[in-house]
């Protein structure tokens, strides 16, 4: 298995990170390992150029924290979470916007994608369609 295919993948800036509705990364055709953002070589099996893959818009909030130390452009408190996207998607960090509700580990969440140029680019909200 040569690595050659990893030489001609799009640059990191050229690879989409979302499609306006969902996060986009890569999924290895060989072993199924996923990555967000996409990578040039699979971290699990070493296969080059894993395919671009659109992840589920829903996921499970594994854990979260409310941060009380502000950062520039980011007033405190704000909530961060670690989310495992559904359908064996990747585990990602992101802000969690509860709109007044209380977060809970195991809660169903849905990804939200910001407008062009918005920071952060994506965040999570409670999935109000979940059971």
């Amino acid at each position: 298995m040569g690595l050659n295919a990893a030489l001609t993948v799009p640059t990191t800036a050229q690879r989409p990170r979302d499609n306006g509705h969902a996060l986009v990364g890569s999924r290895c055709g060989q072993c199924g390992a996923v990555s967000f953002p996409a990578r040039a070589v699979c971290h699990r099996c070493g296969t080059p150029a894993p395919a671009e893959h659109t992840f589920a818009t829903t996921g499970v909030l594994l854990t979260y924290t409310t941060v009380h130390v502000p950062r520039p452009g980011l007033p405190a408190p704000y909530t961060l979470g670690q989310v495992a996207l559904d359908d064996t998607g990747p585990t990602v960090f992101g802000q969690v916007r509860m709109n007044g509700a209380e977060p809970a580990a195991g809660m169903a969440v849905r990804v939200r994608i910001g407008a062009d140029g918005e920071t952060p680019r994506y965040w999570f909200e409670p999935d109000r369609f979940a059971g």
Partner: protein, 392 residues
């Protein structure tokens, strides 16, 4: 060659804390000269230097030749100086390179030095520099701070019933109590559980008194090939294992990075967790010590709270952990931390840790992690040290 061919022949520290008037050169000088004096050597006895620092590029503007610039202050020139950077594990990474340099036959006596100056006029710059311990291409803009990463790890364990908030508080109280006994420590004040729980929230469940804080400091270690430097009648401390590993993309189901690295270190030394008599573990937030208990094999899954509660990890317990106060109370001068751990273990193994001496330890373990990827540390280093002389 085998790993027990290398001895720790000198250690030294500049106290950790806030040292406004002290430059990187001042901090480094005190640590290095102390370590050389401890070894009974002069600067011209050193064959090579490994210099660890994580943030001087962003905080002092000194990139590129950090080690060379601080070493000339103590008259060290000509010999190879290598700058090593691996986030909060920079010090232990530098130590490992020194071990490899001796094993490779390129040096007999190596000075390993770590220095960090985090107090600058604008605290925001220090916080921003700390954020560069993540992959900024992936996480920048979401406000991911070190404390948040630890807060999330700990909440998950609390939610799963593997730790309680009382455990987090108790281990923080222990950390401060140990720091209070350590003249090199940044935080030297005993605190009560109520004070820990009532202190300012940082990233829940973490409160201020659970967290390491901004810190200046330096630490240094002199390694030598066995037999090159006479022991001067002092107990000999040997390096029995030196391992490093890089974080990985987690699925949530694999062994932790620390576990992987510790397993390799135990295998290198032919030892197991049951052989460890004293440990300095990576607790950038004091409750992370509890996670380390599991990952280093000191207890089974979910057993950390009970182990702590048993008193075994207290200074007078059967397996003391972080007698120095750990990162949270001794302080976490990022690039110096890994070497401060080795300094503490060396004092413990020699019986020189006045006021916080543990009972006749033979094997010491140093665990130093750094940075983060999604869900794991970016770097882990585990070293095992041995006192080869009997205790009387």
């Amino acid at each position: 060659m085998t790993s027990d061919d290398i001895e720790v022949i000198g250690v030294g520290m500049h106290p950790f804390g806030r040292f406004t008037g002290h430059s990187l050169k001042d901090l480094n000088r005190v640590a290095c000269v102390s370590a050389l004096v401890d070894a009974g050597l002069g600067v011209q006895d050193v064959d090579a230097v490994y210099a660890a620092n994580a943030m001087a590029g962003l905080l002092q503007g000194q990139e590129m030749i950090r080690g060379q610039s601080v070493m000339r202050e103590i008259g060290i020139e000509r010999i190879p100086v290598t700058n090593v950077e691996n986030a909060c594990a920079s010090g232990s990474t530098a130590l490992r390179q020194a071990v490899l340099a001796i094993r490779a036959g390129s040096a007999d006596v190596v000075l390993v030095a770590g220095v960090e100056k985090m107090f600058v006029e604008d605290r925001g710059r220090t916080l921003a520099a700390l954020e560069s311990a993540g992959d900024l291409d992936v996480v920048s803009g979401i406000g991911l701070q070190f404390t948040a990463v630890y807060g999330m790890r700990l909440r998950r364990l609390v939610a799963a019933g593997r730790l309680t908030v009382d455990d987090l508080v108790a281990v923080s109280v222990k950390s401060h109590a140990n720091g209070a006994l350590n003249p090199y420590a940044q935080h030297r004040k005993i605190v009560s559980p109520e004070e820990v729980l009532g202190s300012r929230p940082i990233a829940d469940p973490l409160t201020l008194l659970m967290c390491s804080s901004i810190c200046d400091g330096a630490a240094a270690v002199v390694l030598a090939r066995r037999g090159v430097i006479p022991s001067a009648g002092r107990p000999t401390v040997r390096v029995r294992a030196s391992q490093a590993a890089t974080g990985y993309t987690t699925t949530g189901n694999e062994p932790s990075l620390t576990e992987t690295c510790a397993t390799a270190a135990y295998a290198e030394a032919g030892l197991g967790p049951e052989d460890v008599d004293v440990a300095e573990v990576h607790d950038a937030m004091a409750p992370a010590e509890l996670i380390a208990y599991e990952h280093l094999g000191f207890c089974g899954p979910g057993g950390a709270g009970a182990l702590l509660g048993s008193g075994a990890t207290q200074i007078d317990g059967s397996r003391p952990v972080n007698p120095s106060g750990g990162l949270s109370s001794r302080g976490h001068a990022v690039g110096a931390t890994g070497l401060a751990q080795v300094a503490e273990l060396t004092w413990q193994l020699r019986g020189e840790a006045t006021g916080r001496q543990t009972h006749q330890p033979r094997i010491g373990l140093a665990h130093n992690n750094g940075g983060w990827l999604e869900g794991e540390s970016a770097v882990s280093c585990v070293h095992l040290l041995e006192r080869t002389d009997p205790w009387d």
